[in-house]
Symmetry: C3
Subunit: 159 residues, 3 copies
């Protein structure tokens, strides 16, 4: 039995803790020689947003969604014990005490290890995100592309 292989992760959640889990798995698999593709859908797209405000053409509802959702990996909240936004900074402080890699470092490391980042185009339409609002180096594709890759992978997770 071939014990290595391709991995796909659907990153649906935009919570800091779930994003951490996704990138820890992605980096681990890439370090073991696996091909890894991460599909960012719905709230997961927030992880890929550039931190600065980008002017784009949006409907007023899309613009409102955009204003209320976090811009990028540095501003995500926790799925539990968020404490009005204080939970993530607290967890980051503990992580620093433990010399754990930051989410930003994990994202950088995943890129360096050639983990493929795919932004779901249907989710981008629904959430109102334009390509220029998201970080560089992404591919843009839909569910068909995901399924094609998942068919070739031996581990597929929905996070």
């Amino acid at each position: 039995m071939d014990t290595t292989g391709k991995k796909t992760l659907i990153v649906f959640s935009g919570d800091f803790d779930r994003a951490m889990a996704a990138f820890i798995i992605a980096n681990g698999a890439a370090a073991m020689g696996d091909e890894v593709t991460m599909f960012f859908t719905f709230w997961g797209l927030n992880i890929l947003r550039k931190p600065e405000k980008i002017k784009t053409q949006k409907s007023s509802l899309q613009a409102m969604f955009g204003r209320m959702m976090p811009r990028g990996a540095g501003r995500l909240g926790l799925s539990k014990m968020n404490f009005g936004g204080m939970g993530a900074p607290m967890m980051k402080k503990v992580m620093k005490q433990q010399n754990a890699m930051t989410l930003e470092q994990l994202i950088e490391s995943a890129k360096e290890q050639d983990v493929k980042f795919v932004a779901c185009t249907l989710s981008m339409d629904i959430m109102g995100f334009k390509e220029e609002e998201l970080i560089d180096g992404l591919e843009f594709a839909g569910v068909g592309s995901y399924l094609g890759e998942a068919d070739e992978a031996n581990v597929n997770l929905f996070i």
Copy 2:
């Protein structure tokens, strides 16, 4: 390597956004010729509820759970930014602007493509749902049935 195959989705969540993700994947896979089975457990059963009130024999606690949970796909909330129930209508409005399929259309399309809907009987007991409260065309089974199908599938997700 056979690059198509069976897919199973455990739909544990009853959030509108996660239900959308589940049915987008299910429809995409079915369109590519895959056999797809969706197992609805816990809150995911809410997606399958008929919108009208159905009189059934329940314990008072089950009846209370039933009253407080959404009746069907049209009444689900968002997992994030629910805004006291306003989040889902806002997302639906954006989806309409984008000509995206509604959740109800995705469910209908999944049925037409012979996606198999299985309601978890243990969850039904716990949540107090009777068969007559749920939409037509379901199968009813437990975890053994799920595992049997997952063993034959090449992509298994928990949503």
Copy 3:
């Protein structure tokens, strides 16, 4: 095609309902003769905490996290309709009326069926959990160990 095989579950969530789902699947698979490994990460570690207070060396932030998170399977909340902590007792009462197994019984049964429990060491560092705070019979390992097992499994879920 071999229709049985190994299963891995990442138990990321510490919610009562998601923990129930994880252990129902684990017990079902073990009963069918599958080898099952459960990896407890982040909030999922709360399921493994001993119910009593254990004195350990922690940073003040870790100690605070520890105080605010539930100590063990008996104190978990619901992911939805938690009602300030009343949701889980209500669900447990319905489960008792239905003669469903409790979470504690499912955990015990999983152990008896040789389901392997692995606590994620990186998560333990971040959450500030020490081995002596967690129940007996655990293994301790990181993401590499998970990936090695997932490579050998035919069903891998993230819960």
